[in-house]
Amino acid sequence: MGLTRQSCGSGAANENFGRGQTSGADYVIALAGNPNTGKSTVFNSLTGLNQHTGNWPGKTVTRAEGFYNHRGLTFKLIDLPGTYSLLANSVEEQVARDYLCFGRPDATVVVLDATCMERNLNLVLQVLEITSRVVVCVNLVDEAQRKKIVIDYQLLTAELGVPVVPTAARGGVGLDKLVEAVSGIASGRIKTKPCIVRYKEKIEAAVQVLEPKIKKLVGESFNARWLALRILDKDQSVLASVGHSLDRNNDPANGVEGAVLV
């Protein structure tokens, strides 16, 4: 019950991180967030897809997809596994991280639990390292209100440099604004100035050396700073994914050599 073939498919480990079938969709949107933040509720409210929601820990193991329309455009929403970080400690984290990096969604919505912002912000900062096209959705604001937690959204927007939308997805509150912000980011109407975490000098110096070399090798298609950090960290799984992804790009069957996946 609840765990369907789709929500816990055994293929979660060997996902294909292309953008998949984009037929019919104008934009592809990824949905990331910690477990138990109501991410599935946001997903269901937006897509109307009849997908079971509940409190099972680690329920969404693989991605679920759905579509919604906004102002005549079709958005494809991809529900990433709920994770606490993107450090690839588990299959779920690796799936989410690889999709954000190599799937290159037009926008990424990070769903936060308003009642425990600190823990949830960790994930936002890690997502911002990979992509700047982010909308932060602070969910469960009704619960936060009940617990007398007050959040300064203007300050949060300024700190993060990306749009912040408060929502109470269970009651459908704020979803219209969320959809609006997502379309703004996806179309490029809204420009972001993402907050990038700076590390200690020695690391930054090493990144400075690697970054241009990575750009030369992989072009502008991937986030070179983030890759530099992963390579410095000797993250073999990322390297394998990069190789795989570039291979696919250069496959003559996929069109022009070196073309960016569209």
Partner: protein
């Protein structure tokens, strides 16, 4: 760029990285984690403020009781008992009404057929075989499901289920298995096939196999009606739904104990290993959304399970009618089988008809009772079974049941091999014939052993 030049480029980068970070001296991961967490804390501090002291933290208060060492288990049992009591007490009347209605329809169908001058076997095959089996499954299963599933979904929606997992985690750890097994076990209450699929949430293959093999020790929805009917039979006379509830709760607890015992045995013998750890977040309690609970439990669960049961029951009813009505010598095939199985049945405290009902019930546990009733009435006589009294008369008066028979049948139903759907799912999930076979044979062994011990000790001790 070719494949070769890319991998060469990547290798070059790796070498460069090794030069920049000799022997991991930069401590990248540690630094990244601490910097990011520090920054998150900084932002959160600036952005989040508390307006006065929060009102009473109900979540914490509730958790202090529901997950405490002292009250955790009693409160869990109470909730479980409450759900079963509501199901048992509430299901009786609608069940009877449905049965009356459906069997009234059966009579009308027979009348129509005889008005059409249809041959007797048409009426037997379609009405007494297929239709009656369907009617039984619907009238016995629908009301308990329509009550049990919404209750269960309410608990799920309110956030209680993760607490069950939290309470049971320690027990499963001691049995050498994964704490998430308590979750897959809870799902087994709905449907063992779903429970087996849910075992995917357990990462370690060893623990996943244990969870899959032991999943059928909790009664699924197809077996609850059987258990509830038998429990009600047991307390006939002093007929209260309270007594029946106690028996059902006892049986469920026995199933959980068996799950733990078999898991422990497996993790010490066939599937040795150390239990892995996992972090379990207890989400806040949330007010269930009634509309959604009802629509989900009725649409996704009740009707789904019922549809499956009906799909299986219709052909099964036909096969059983044929078996009961095709005679070899002076006995039907069903009677031959029952006679052949009778000695074994007696050893296990049951009889041949009960065993053959379990054998023929492999496609779905829901049809074990209908098969048994058809077997007992194998002459195809038209007794209407729309109440417990009729069931009591058929079982106890006509076929010499004792409380031991009912108890052993309940135990066998609880412990025996999972249904065909579950086995098929098991095979698809484990990709191994060996483990699928074991998943059928281990429960069968346990069921035979337990029933044998219970039946023989009762007889030896002269309790009967």
């Amino acid at each position: 760029m070719t494949r070769g030049s890319i991998s060469a480029g990547l290798n070059e980068l790796m070498e460069e990285a090794s030069r920049l970070n000799p022997g991991g001296s930069l401590k990248i991961s540690d630094s990244i984690v601490s910097t990011i967490y520090g920054r998150a804390e900084e932002i959160a501090e600036g952005v989040v403020s508390r307006q006065g002291t929060p009102r009473i933290d109900w979540d914490k208060k509730l958790d202090d009781i529901l997950t405490s060492r002292v009250f955790g288990f009693p409160s869990m049992l109470l909730l479980l008992a409450a759900v079963f009591w509501i199901t048992v007490a509430g299901a009786n009347i609608p069940s009877e009404m449905l049965a009356t209605g459906l069997f009234w329809l059966q009579d009308r169908l027979t009348e129509i057929l005889s008005w059409l001058h249809a041959p007797a076997w048409v009426n037997g095959f379609f009405v007494e075989g297929i239709y009656r089996c369907l009617a039984w499954v619907v009238s016995v299963m629908l009301p308990p499901m329509a009550i049990f599933f919404p209750c269960f979904t309410l608990l799920e929606d309110s956030g209680y289920l993760p607490r069950i997992s939290f309470n049971l985690d320690n027990l499963f750890k001691r049995a050498g298995t994964h704490g998430k097994q308590s979750l897959t076990m809870s799902m087994g209450f709905g449907c063992n096939a779903a429970g087996v699929i849910a075992c995917r949430i357990i990462e370690s293959p060893r623990e996943r196999l244990i969870a899959m093999i032991t999943n059928s020790f909790v009664p699924c929805n197809g077996r609850f009606p059987t258990l509830i009917a038998l429990a009600s039979l047991l307390v006939m006379g002093a007929s209260t739904s309270f007594g029946a509830t106690l028996i059902v709760v006892g049986i469920v607890l026995f199933g959980i104990v068996t799950t733990l015992a078999v898991s422990w045995t497996l993790s010490k013998t066939l599937l040795k290993g150390v239990p892995s750890t996992f972090a379990l977040e207890l989400p806040p309690y949330r007010k269930p959304q009634l509309g959604k609970v009802i629509s989900r439990s009725i649409h996704d669960r009740t009707l789904f399970v019922l549809r499956r049961a009906v799909h299986v029951a219709a052909p099964a009813g036909a096969v059983i009618w044929l078996m009961a009505n095709i005679h070899v010598g002076d006995l039907s095939i069903l009677a031959h089988g029952a006679n052949w199985l009778n000695p074994l049945g007696q050893l296990l405290g049951m009889d041949g008809y009960i065993l053959i009902a379990f054998v023929l019930g492999i496609p779905a546990n829901e049809i074990v009772m209908p098969i048994l009733i058809m077997g007992y009435m194998s002459t195809g006589s038209m007794i209407e079974l729309n109440s417990l009294e009729a069931l009591h008369r058929l079982f106890v008066v006509e076929h010499g049941w004792t409380w031991l028979t009912a108890l052993c049948m309940m135990l066998f139903s609880l412990l025996h091999y999972p249904c065909a759907t579950t086995l098929w799912t098991l095979h698809k999930e484990s990709c191994s014939l060996k483990w699928t076979a074991l998943a059928a044979l281990i429960p069968l062994g346990v069921a035979v052993t337990v029933c044998f011990v219970v039946a023989q000790s009762v007889r030896v001790l002269g309790l009967l």
